[in-house]
């Protein structure tokens, strides 16, 4: 069995407890081990980051990807907004995304002569999150005074006419002559976007106003919601400003490459296919877990802590196939699912329960800044430390979270309680370890045993189905002979 990997360190943020209060990580327990994704699946793609080349691999890959992008529409006297999202700063430590943003700045300057290049970084529900990243990664210095700013969905908006009516974007995203869409292909919220138009999503989310985001989560249905981003991106207004897109091409293990294109829908088809390929196997494998203690141990809101590249919110729904958009209309967790729990239970038949394999959840370290009461209400949850409990109480999005959770004084006490209560020694740790996951030896044995059959099932049965459901032709998307 391998040694555990080093978890992502605790980080200073207004959305979580102070790092000095995180005194023990669950990966430190002697019964823990680790698995690399490449140990589980032989076809795990090779990484450019992490790799022995370090961050220079991102630099080189970004420059190479941009060689095939047309930038002639950008004139020296014009302005460009490089539009980013918070999520990129949470993958693989944030350095790869930061480096891609810097190279985008440099190459646009070199090739067009344009000097007015700004960074506009959108957020989820933590309105200062990208301000924190901009400072931490010194992007304010790199882009120049007042050129790098965080934008939030409550900032000033502008109407955008779409083929379904008026939606609203953020004025600061579109206040340049041209916009460059800088994102990544980590599937992350597959429970929401269902790997449909993944590349386009920020146009309906981190670049959008509250009205648009509310449309996504309340007006258009669990799958129809994904049309929000497409109709905004396809609008005449956005098309008149869109220059090109550049993406970190992600696998659950790390960065596979950089993809860039003037045609966002072509790029979208490529990352949709690769997202299903790369993430489909590990997500399906995690669905094989029969019983476990789930540990949250990463500087992120509850649903976004991740293990093996998979966020906790996906594990909460891993008892069904999240990529199957036809027969799995309402995964265990989406905001539509949450909305449809009445005062006495589900309002309709056929709603998927939260993954029953999660016997108990140990919240050792995770942030507020996302409405997370659903998770504590549907899974027994124990929060480590009264300070962390108070930080959840203080968060306006989580005033209900601690109504459903217990408090333990220490990580040791929480795990002791969890073992006794859950009556299982299988533990999965969502601590952001890069390239694989930390877990108990007993769970590692289960995953290793089940991985070959899962791999075959995805290759032969599930992947063809997932692609057909999305109208993706692998030959056209990637020029493959067959998938």
């Amino acid at each position: 069995m391998r040694k555990v990997m080093i978890p992502a360190p605790a980080r200073q943020s207004q959305y979580g407890v102070a790092p000095q209060l995180v005194t023990k990580r669950v990966a430190e327990f002697p019964e823990m081990t680790s698995l690399m994704l490449s140990d589980l699946f032989a076809d795990t793609p090779p990484l450019i980051y992490p790799s022995e080349k370090g961050i220079s691999a991102i630099r080189d890959a970004t420059r190479k990807a941009l060689e095939r992008v047309d930038m002639t529409m950008i004139k020296p006297h014009q302005s460009v907004n490089i539009c980013a999202s918070h999520h990129g700063f949470t993958v693989a430590g944030g350095q790869p995304y930061t480096e891609m943003l810097k190279i985008l700045h440099d190459v646009i300057l070199e090739r067009t002569g344009c000097k007015d290049i700004r960074l506009r970084a959108g957020v989820g529900l933590r309105f200062r999150e990208t301000e924190e990243y901009i400072k931490r990664f010194e992007l304010d210095t790199y882009f120049g005074p007042k050129k790098a700013t965080g934008v939030a969905p409550i900032d000033e908006g502008i109407p955008i006419q779409t083929e379904i009516g008026t939606l609203y974007g953020l004025k600061a995203i579109y206040d340049a002559d041209w916009i460059v869409h800088a994102h990544n292909s980590d599937v992350r919220e597959v429970h929401f976007h269902r790997q449909v138009d993944r590349a386009v999503k920020p146009f309906g989310m981190s670049y959008a106003r509250i009205e648009t985001r509310s449309t996504y989560h309340q007006n258009l249905g669990p799958r129809g919601a994904n049309f929000t981003a497409r109709c905004i991106f396809a609008s005449d207004f956005v098309q008149s400003k869109f220059a090109f897109a550049s993406f970190l091409d992600m696998s659950p293990a790390g960065v596979v490459g950089v993809d860039a294109d003037n045609d966002l829908f072509a790029l979208n088809d490529r990352i949709t296919l690769k997202g299903c390929q790369y993430y489909g196997k590990i997500m399906t494998l995690l669905g094989e877990i029969d019983e476990c203690i789930a540990v949250l141990d990463f500087p992120c809101p509850v649903p976004y802590v991740f293990a093996a590249g998979v966020v906790y919110a996906n594990f909460v729904g891993a008892n069904t196939d999240l990529f199957d958009i036809e027969s799995n209309a309402l995964p265990a967790y989406t905001w539509y699912s949450e909305a449809f729990y009445g005062k006495n239970g589900p309002l309709i038949n056929g709603m998927t329960p939260v993954n029953p394999a999660i016997r108990i959840c140990v919240h050792n370290y995770a942030w507020g800044g996302y409405p997370s009461a659903f998770f504590a209400e549907h899974t027994p949850t124990i929060v480590v430390g009264s300070e962390q409990a108070e930080s959840m109480n203080r968060d306006s999005q989580n005033v209900e979270y601690m109504k459903h959770a217990l408090i333990a004084q220490s990580t040791d006490a929480a795990m002791h309680f969890a073992y006794k209560t859950a009556k299982t020694d299988k533990v999965i740790i969502f601590d952001g370890a890069v390239g694989g996951l930390n877990l108990s030896k007993s769970l590692a044995q289960l995953l290793v045993a089940r991985a070959p059959a899962v791999s075959r099932k995805v290759d032969e049965v599930l992947l063809p189905k997932w692609l057909r459901q999305r109208g993706i032709d692998p030959v056209a998307a990637l020029g493959l002979a067959a998938v």
Binding site: E211, G224, A329, K343, L347, R394
Partner: protein
């Protein structure tokens, strides 16, 4: 329903007078007096919008010595009146419409029937839009519209701009154009309609 346990507090010496706080406050609790913000404690629902968008970090949320609950009773209204309003707006009465405050459609409907005729008043009475303040503006506007009210956005503010389309309103031509992209419009419409029609509570 929302337990309000904090109050936005301004350090006037640090405040640079940008006025953004007053533009993002969902209850219009902040007014500008002599170029600096003043918080009406009775209207503050502790959402934190002002604190998070303040450019000079002059606003903090201070714990209240006596937290209070904001909520609207539903049971003192005729059940059929509340239900009918929710259903006209396309919601089941027990459907959650604000994930931060756990507010259900029926409470918003009751607030409207009792005189909350703008998103600001709905927030003040129910706690809807007092958490993330992002995801629940459209339910408020849809319920107001179903009651026959077309509110006007706060002048000069960024609180909200207007109603947006629902699944029912997507043109047939658009549905046909994107029929093989995985949006599942018709199937999702059936789900939403089955929720509204449910007799469960």
């Amino acid at each position: 329903m929302k337990l309000v346990a904090y109050l936005a507090t301004v350090d006037r010496d640090v405040c640079a007078g940008c006025r953004i706080c007053s533009k993002v406050c969902p209850t219009l609790a902040i007014t500008i007096v002599e170029k600096k913000p003043v918080v009406d404690a009775a209207r503050c629902v502790a959402c934190g919008n002002c604190e998070q968008r303040c450019e000079s970090r002059a606003i903090t949320l201070e714990k209240l010595p006596a937290p209070h609950v904001i909520t609207v009773a539903v049971d003192d209204l005729p059940r059929e009146q509340v239900d009918a309003l929710c259903i006209r707006a396309g919601f089941h009465p027990s459907q959650i419409v604000c994930f931060c405050s756990n507010t259900r459609a029926e409470e918003v409907a009751a607030a409207i029937i009792k005189g909350a005729h703008s998103p600001e008043e709905i927030t003040l009475r129910t706690g809807l839009r007092s958490g993330c303040s992002v995801e629940c503006i459209e339910p408020a506007l849809r319920l107001l519209q179903a009651y026959g009210i077309t509110p006007t956005p706060p002048k000069g503010g960024w609180q909200w701009y207007g109603l947006t389309p629902t699944l029912k309103e997507i043109p047939e031509a658009v549905k046909a154009k994107y029929s093989n992209h995985g949006f599942c419009f018709e199937e999702d419409l059936k789900i939403l309609e089955s929720v509204v029609a449910s007799e469960r509570r």
